[in-house]
Amino acid sequence: MTGLWSIYALVRADVLERTRCYQYLATVAVTLLVGTLLVPGRHASYETFLIDGYRGIYNSAWIGANFALLTAMLLSLFAFYNVKSAVERDRTTRVGEILATTSIGRFDYSLGKALSNFVVLGSMAAILCLTAMVMQFVRGESYAFAPLQILIPFAVVVMPLIAMVAAIAVLFEMVPWLRGGFGNAVYFFGWTAYLVWSVQDELRGVPWWRDMLGANLVMRKVWEALLRVDPRAKPNSIEIGVNVGAGVRHFFTFMGFHWTVAEVAERLVWFAIALCIVAAAALLFDRFSKPARSTEQRRGNAVVLRWRTAAGRLSAPLVDALFGSDFGSIVLAEFRLLVRGLSLWWYVVAGGLWLFALFADATGQSLAVGLAWIWPMLQWSQLGTRETVFATEQFVYPTVHPIRRQFVAQWFAGVLLALVSAGGSLVHWTIAGNFTGLEGVLAGAVFVPTLALACGALSGTTRLFEIAYLVLWYLGPMNRTPFDFTQGAYAPQFTLASVVLFVVAVGARTVRLRYA
């Protein structure tokens, strides 16, 4: 160990660097907004936490339980993506190369980064905690203020969880194949599977190691309290999250948690596990010994290399296209940039999904289309970002009509990829003569790349799309809600959304061109 002073300096610098950028301000604003939405009013069209139609009156105890539960779920998913950049920053800024020559050890560095993640996540939790206190008075159902009823659930449930998220984020950054978009997807599906696993036994209680989020613990204790009010309350009708249309049938007064020593100890174990994860991350830390390039930059170089290869083969038609009118050549070049460099396995899986979509019955089509929309996600995430990520703005922006030609061609290439990916379903619905199904696939094929383009043009990074899309994909195609952009029934809405997103994308790119 190089000492606490070095770790403190590392955490301080990292936290300052993160909290001084506008993204953090945006995060604070979103956190505040989310905080207010977690406590819907009596006439709101949604509820956030109900057990068998029961909702506690908004006293400190219920607000504390409600916020602890929902904060745990929100921070463990969305905030992971927010903090998973501490090591990457040192790679991309190349500060890492300087750090590698200092005496700081692998463990100290990993611990410092995890602590920095913990502080940033903690600041979000603190904002939500303060919002919770304010919202009790805003809703005004109870003015008996007991701050510990809010603070203690945060300390017991949320703090160990964010320690874990902070450590896992560092671990993901140390494993090369988990650093980028693939890692984001792995975390999303891993989180979803773990959450289902931790609550699938209803409220009978699960071992502590199946309840990192603390969701089962909170729900079980609230349910036990509810049973004292209504012994017939059913545990199998719990609604958590934004439940549109869910109505409160009864109110009850939740008096707060009574934590046992065992329960607190079980939560504290997560801190120890987080420390073990940091130690594992430290073992995998390469001390920036590889040339200091980010995953995206490496991918960028691969693309540049591919571009060179493509340019070698296509140089004549490509140059003609830029100055002539062969828009199709630019679309083709953009399409090649999207898919070149993919492994054979990628195509094998894509082919398998294509065949599955072709032969799946009407029920299986939802899954087939859903998978066809997820498999090329990392390719779509390049849309609108490639020039920024790979620093080719200076080449691309001064070309003839960079928006009308190159940017639109990039969008076309994304749509083309979507049509190819979901080709099995397109053929299936065409043969079946089901135009509603066909409409759904086509609407999705336009919507997904447009969303990617807009997110990319707005943020300049692949991350915004990867996160927004995974969430939307889960809400929509996998759960068949009105967010399902693959269903013909919602095609008009998503077509309209595509138009709006396209305008946003063009606007964002225009601004970038103006201020590049």
Binding site: G3, E17, T92, L99, A100, T101, I104
Partner: protein, 240 residues
């Protein structure tokens, strides 16, 4: 004090970036010259303990730096060719951060940072975010971080890149003053940067050491160090 480099090799797959490099360094400035892709930066990354060699040894006062990098790190200053900063930190905050990682005690660090900001003509912008710095100012911050721990071994890769002529002269003078009791490795493309200050000049191409001599000897019968450098490089390439 000396650094002994013995039969050093570094390969990236089939590419041999540094080949059988052997050199002994004593206090003073060693100018490292070579064309792009010659292996200079790879050599410097190995000397600065960032990258491990594929084979060979580096010894600092007898201690094996490859097996025990800490032997050198405590007294090392390194300015990479291409480095970055945290754009939202001020110059002072960034230097305090790097200083803490280098193990400089807190009480001494603030004083040292102020000294270096003053020395490198950055005191008036010390509180400003680094994101707004020009290339030359950023380069001077890089030089400052390399000097934070008063290093006995200073490795600077293209330190004059982005500096204006006045700053280049100031840097050369600074390095010359420091060179009496320190080993300084100064890599550059610009022969005039090292001609007047280097005690010895090493010329490297294709990862191999082609020449290691005093500027006076290299200049013998030649008009400039540039001419001597070109002569060594073309001679070696012709022989190959």
């Amino acid at each position: 004090m000396e650094i002994q480099i013995d039969a050093l090799n570094k390969s990236y797959g089939a590419i041999r970036a540094v080949r059988d490099f052997t050199l002994t360094l004593k206090p003073g400035i060693l100018g490292l010259l070579g064309p792009n892709g010659a292996g200079k930066s790879t050599l410097m990354r190995m000397l600065s303990t960032v990258t491990r060699p594929s084979s060979g040894t580096i010894r600092f006062d007898g201690a094996d730096v490859v097996a025990n990098p800490e032997a050198l790190r405590r007294t090392l200053g390194y300015l990479p060719q291409d480095f970055g900063v945290y754009p939202h930190l001020s110059a002072s905050e960034f230097l305090e951060y790097i200083g803490a990682l280098k193990g400089i005690p807190r009480r001494r660090l603030r004083e040292r940072v102020a000294e270096l900001l003053d020395l490198l003509n950055l005191a008036h912008v010390g509180a400003r975010p680094l994101g707004g710095f020009s290339g030359g100012m950023r380069q001077r911050v890089g030089i400052a971080q390399a000097l934070l721990n008063d290093p006995r071994v200073l490795i600077v890769d293209e330190p004059t890149a982005g500096l204006d002529p006045e700053e280049r002269v100031r840097l050369r003078m600074l390095l010359e003053q420091m060179a009496s009791d320190r080993i300084i490795i100064f890599s550059t493309h610009i022969c005039s940067d090292i001609e007047s200050v280097a005690k010895r000049v090493a010329i490297i191409d294709h990862g191999m050491l082609l020449a290691n001599d005093s500027p006076e000897n290299l200049l013998r019968a030649r008009a400039s160090l540039e001419e001597a450098y070109l002569s060594v490089i073309t001679g070696a390439r012709a022989a190959a």
